[in-house]
């Protein structure tokens, strides 16, 4: 792990030894910052192993007794497994759809000149800055109306939610992939075209393989955002399609809040994305750089 984390930034800046004032400032700053970052993580982990009495009474830094009970109970207090599957399907499908569609679109924008190219890229870029709430209200009403008119249940269905997730994952994916494809030398796919590949052959045999890190980065990022999305999930889901974002609210009843179970469940739903992110962050950083730092 530590090796893969290090490599992209393994460069030394100055040939001289840093002065003491710098070293001390660095130590103090980084220690404080580590504390700020870690305290919630510690609370999450330690509270998830506490008996209920510990989390309903005064806060204690150390549990009175360790228990893995919360990790067993989380699955029965709310149908967590079902929410997990829903989140997986919705975030996965939104990711796959947006990345696949974005690969074609980004290839067209990156390699061809055509009428309306500027309009297209500006539209894609600007929809990224629009607030989600702007799309939520009309999509909600459109889904209700389509449901009334045709009987196709978009509202409350997984398909409908996947579609709404494309409002943020698609423009992001297109935008990032344009940056990535631009950084793949044109000579490569030109050579493939000369060798008799069609444009699609050049795309899939040359450009896509060369841009794999970028595509991975975009996919990870799209998945993470979809996995953490709350706004659309809170309006567009019902009992059977609820995702984790909404489902975690089920641990608080009118009388009790099962904080230890909430923390356990939060940890369980976080581990896959955090692990994936840390494993693939090298690509992600490179991808963000290609997209943002041009």
């Amino acid at each position: 792990m530590s090796r893969s984390v290090k490599s992209p930034f393994a460069m030394s800046r100055s040939p001289m030894a840093p002065p003491r004032s710098f070293l001390w400032s660095r130590r103090i700053f980084l220690t404080l910052l580590t504390g700020f970052v870690l305290v919630p993580v510690y609370v999450m982990v330690s509270s998830s192993l506490k008996p209920l009495a510990d989390v309903t009474g005064k806060f204690r830094w150390l549990p009175s007794g360790l228990t893995i009970r919360p990790y067993i109970d989380i699955w029965s207090t709310v149908p967590l497994a079902k929410y997990f599957v829903n989140s997986l399907i919705v975030a996965g499908a939104a990711t796959v759809c947006s990345v696949v569609i974005a690969v074609f679109a980004a290839y067209a924008v990156s390699r061809y000149h055509f009428r309306g190219k500027r309009v297209f890229t500006v539209t894609v870029l600007s929809t990224q800055m629009f607030p989600g709430i702007l799309f939520l209200l009309p999509l909600f009403l459109l889904y209700v109306n389509i449901g009334n008119a045709t009987g196709i249940a978009l509202f409350g269905s997984r398909g409908g939610l996947i579609l709404t997730y494309l409002t943020f994952s698609l423009p992001f994916s297109i935008w990032m992939l344009i940056g990535y494809f631009d950084s793949v030398p044109r000579d490569l796919d030109e050579a493939a075209l000369v060798d008799g590949c069609g444009p699609l052959g050049a795309l899939f045999r040359v450009v896509v393989p060369a841009a794999i890190p970028g595509i991975v980065a975009v996919a990870v990022y799209a998945f993470m955002t979809a996995w953490g999305e709350v706004l659309f999930a809170s309006v567009m889901t019902n009992d059977t399609t609820r995702t984790l974002a909404v489902g975690l609210q089920g641990y608080s009843t009118l009388t009790d809040v099962y904080w230890n179970q909430i923390m356990a469940a939060s940890l369980v739903v976080s581990v896959p994305v955090v692990a994936g992110f840390l494993l693939l962050q090298r690509y992600l950083v490179a991808g963000l750089t290609a997209g943002a730092v041009k």
């Binding site: 100055s14 609370v43 629009f130 579609l163 953490g228 809170s234 490179a286």
Partner: protein, 329 residues
């Protein structure tokens, strides 16, 4: 430059190939049609998830769209500019609340973006050189960013609890800084709570981008400065920070837009109705639409919000590009 390259990239028939003419003809058809064909799925979806909803939203904002018309909003009566008038009538309750929410959002966004940028930049600059444990710290610092919003924010909700939260335990019981345990998710303190969570969650993004930006600074600059006798602090002030300018321009705009539009954090922290001191605009519009069921007013507020963001972004882009141009000269 790109035109020439694209031209040569598409007209790809090998010289001396049989049936050259027909090939060239199909090549030309492809050249015209292919980009659009590749774009077709994206265009259709953009139309479906962005353009149609936006047009619908604009139409909705001119309608009297209350709970009675939600099942069939086409039949809702037109109300002209009423929704807009109500939204910007700052002497009446609706407009007053919107203005308040807007100002809270602006203040919150500026503070949050400023702090995220400051912490992220400091961390990146301090971690520019290798030292023991750097890789581990780097991975650690990315955890808040990687955690799903609801899992991270719900942990903060727990920490901010009045009776059993860590924050009151530390501030009141252990350090004795407050007379009595405070309420963090109600009243004026809620602004502080929201800001803390937002900065905790947001600074690693600034850290990531600045770290990436630092890579592009040529090492020779530092070597030359060191030869001229510039110390570490001087190098940071004279080389590192000025070199980060183009990175910062993009970073700050992106942070601004994300923070300004953020819904997830306040919603998980406070629920459907945020306390007045932390009533961010996204939640405010959500509340106007889905709690009081006035979609017309909600849409009008969304359109106003959008116009504001467009103006801010436009002004920002003009300002920064002018700065860049004069810097180049």
């Amino acid at each position: 430059m790109t035109t020439a390259m694209a031209e040569s990239a598409v007209g790809g028939s090998p010289p001396g190939a049989p049936a050259r003419d027909t090939r060239r003809r199909t090549g030309r058809i492809r050249r015209i049609g292919l980009p659009y064909l590749l774009l077709l799925p994206a265009l259709l979806l953009e139309l479906l998830v962005h353009l149609v909803p936006m047009a619908t939203g604009i139409v909705m904002s001119f309608k009297e769209l209350t709970q009675f018309y939600i099942r069939d909003w086409g039949t809702a009566p037109w109300s002209g500019l009423d929704n807009y008038k109500v939204s910007v009538d700052f002497s009446a309750p609706v407009g007053q609340a919107l203005l308040h929410s807007f100002l809270v959002t602006v203040g919150f966004t500026l503070l949050s973006v400023g702090l995220c940028w400051l912490i992220g930049t400091a961390a990146a600059v301090f971690m520019q050189d290798t030292f023991r444990g750097r890789g581990l710290l780097r991975a650690l610092f990315l955890v808040p960013y990687a955690l799903p919003v609801y899992a991270a924010v719900i942990t903060w909700v727990f920490m901010f609890q009045h009776d059993n939260g860590l924050v009151n335990h530390v501030l009141h019981d252990q350090l004795g800084l407050t007379d009595k345990p405070s309420f963090w998710l109600l009243g004026d303190n809620s602004f502080v709570a929201l800001l803390t969570v937002s900065v905790w969650k947001g600074w690693p993004f600034a850290f990531l981008i600045v770290m990436a930006g630092l890579q592009n600074i040529p090492k020779e600059l530092y070597e030359a400065a060191a030869l001229d006798g510039a110390g570490m602090w001087q190098q940071i002030r004279r080389i590192t920070l000025p070199s980060l300018r183009p990175v910062n321009q993009v970073l700050i705009l992106v942070l601004f837009l994300w923070t300004f539009n953020d819904f997830n954090t306040p919603y998980v922290l406070f629920g459907k109705t945020a306390p007045e001191a932390a009533d961010l605009i996204s939640v405010h519009i959500y509340q106007a639409s889905f709690v009081t069921w006035n979609f017309g007013a909600g849409s009008a507020m969304s359109v106003l919000l959008l116009l504001f963001l467009l103006v801010v972004t436009g002004v920002y882009l003009v300002l920064t590009s002018r700065g860049r141009r004069t810097a180049d000269v």
